[in-house]
């Protein structure tokens, strides 16, 4: 039955993907990609990958739509139609070649859930056995992510940080065109527009009330996901996205300027760097205590307690960085009116 559900959802996904490619209205594409993300999360969920599904949910449910729409305000909504027949033929050729290669590659794939495949026999059983003894937390995914493969996750955190820095650089550049002096009337128009943009959804009573009611619950749930990651699906990446979603909700309700007054940009920049530094610092502390880099066992007298401390601290670092980066990206998009 799982197979049937999975195939059904995958079919819907293919249809959605084709529609996204086909439409020329970018607003529609944004909405459809929201549906695509939901289907993706449902598929992960069916395959028992709750942590990945939760990540997809936390990012796809609110933040990606907000960021896409932020981009659309800057660029415009219709795809610019550009076709030269040579390019099209080349593109078609490349796509056809890749498709054939992928189809050929699937012949080698093992059956779904086959226990005899290398991936099930190589390190996975070792992780599952060792987690119970050495780390002693129920969620093996968190153990693998935060402890066994701590280097990889550190790398991911720095990738997120780099993405955030890149976007801040891109958006802090002031456009050199449009330097012509504004007439008084023009600047007046712009300042009224500024006020109107700055106020958020303050005139919409029901969204306002319900949104404000829910923000604390979303923050609380974010903290729950952050610190419950050892026991159930969750962890720093998901929690960071959920907390960022709560702040973005505030920014939507009250206007982006007010959200910046609550958490200024320098705090966000500090969070971006601080989380990554916190993560690395754990590794350095481990080295000072005569362990290897990121070998949490030396953090406490009892190795298992040491592992627990290490995992909680580095997950906090991940959460801080992700929150900072997502909010910085949001403000970079929302704070910029036009190019």
């Amino acid at each position: 039955m799982t197979i049937i559900f999975g195939v059904f959802l995958l079919t819907l996904m293919v249809i959605t993907a084709l529609a996204i490619v086909h439409t020329q209205h970018l607003f529609v594409a944004v909405i459809l990609s929201g549906i695509f993300s939901l289907l993706m999360a449902a598929n992960f969920f069916l395959l028992d990958a709750a942590d990945v599904a939760l990540t997809e949910a936390a990012i796809g449910a609110g933040i990606s739509t907000v960021l896409f729409l932020g981009a659309l305000t800057l660029t415009g909504e219709a795809e610019r139609y550009r076709s030269s027949s040579v390019n099209r033929v080349v593109a078609l050729g490349v796509v056809a070649a890749i498709t054939l290669m992928v189809i050929y590659a699937t012949f080698d794939k093992p059956a779904f859930g086959d226990p005899q495949t290398p991936v099930q026999q190589h390190v996975a059983p070792w992780y599952i056995d060792t987690t119970a003894n050495d780390i002693d937390i129920p969620n093996v995914v968190t153990a693998v992510l935060a402890s066994f493969r701590g280097y990889d996750t550190l790398g991911e955190v720095f990738v997120v940080l780099t993405a955030g820095i890149g976007i801040l650089f891109l958006f802090s550049a002031t456009p050199t065109r449009r330097k012509k002096p504004q007439t008084e009337q023009e600047s007046e128009v712009e300042s009224t527009a500024e006020i109107k943009f700055g106020e958020g959804l303050r005139h919409f009573l029901i969204p306002q009330v319900v949104g404000r009611l829910l923000i604390p619950f979303i923050l609380l749930f974010g903290l729950y996901v952050q610190f419950h990651g050892d026991y159930g699906p969750g962890g720093g990446f998901q929690a960071g996205a959920i907390i960022a979603a709560a702040i973005i909700l505030y920014a939507l309700l009250e206007g982006e300027a007010r959200a910046l007054r609550v958490i200024p940009q320098w705090v966000l920049t500090g969070m971006m760097a601080g989380g990554a530094i916190l993560y690395s610092a754990v590794g350095v502390v481990c080295m000072m205590l005569d362990g290897n880099f990121l070998e949490y066992s030396v953090l406490a007298a009892d190795p298992i307690t040491g592992q627990h401390i290490g995992i909680i601290v580095i997950e906090a670092g991940v959460g801080i960085t992700v929150t900072g980066v997502l909010l910085s990206i949001f403000h970079a998009f929302a704070g910029r009116r036009r190019f």
């Binding site: 039955m1 559900f5 059904f8 959802l9 819907l12 249809i15 959605t16 439409t23 020329q24 209205h25 607003f27 529609v28 909405i31 459809l32 929201g34 549906i35 939901l38 449902a42 969920f45 069916l46 028992d48 709750a50 939760l54 949910a57 936390a58 449910a61 609110g62 933040i63 739509t65 907000v66 729409l69 659309l72 305000t73 800057l74 660029t75 415009g76 909504e77 219709a78 610019r80 959804l201 919409f204 969204p207 949104g211 829910l214 979303i218 749930f221 996901v225 419950h228 026991y231 159930g232 699906p233 969750g234 959920i242 979603a245 709560a246 973005i248 909700l249 939507l252 036009r338 190019f339």
Partner: protein
Amino acid sequence: MYYVATIATLITMALALVRALQGPSVYDRVLAANMFGTKAVLLFSIIAFLYGRPDFLDLALTYALINFIGVFAILEFIRRRPNDAIEDDVTKGDVNDDNVVGR
């Protein structure tokens, strides 16, 4: 016993997807996407019990809590957008430059 509800939810997701693909206006699509989200909450709840993994309910809770933020963003987007560029959905027809807004 969970199968009836699961299948009904899946079929409804497919129907909502048809509405999202058909349009005709963008708001119909947003409505369908939003409905898709709430159906996903139900689907996740049911499947968590169907497979006996009630700790996976966190996922449904995530969607129940933050899925509406996207719709608020859409409302804010429409509110900011110039009034004359909104009327119709251009997926079916040609895209002409009149529909390019925001500059």
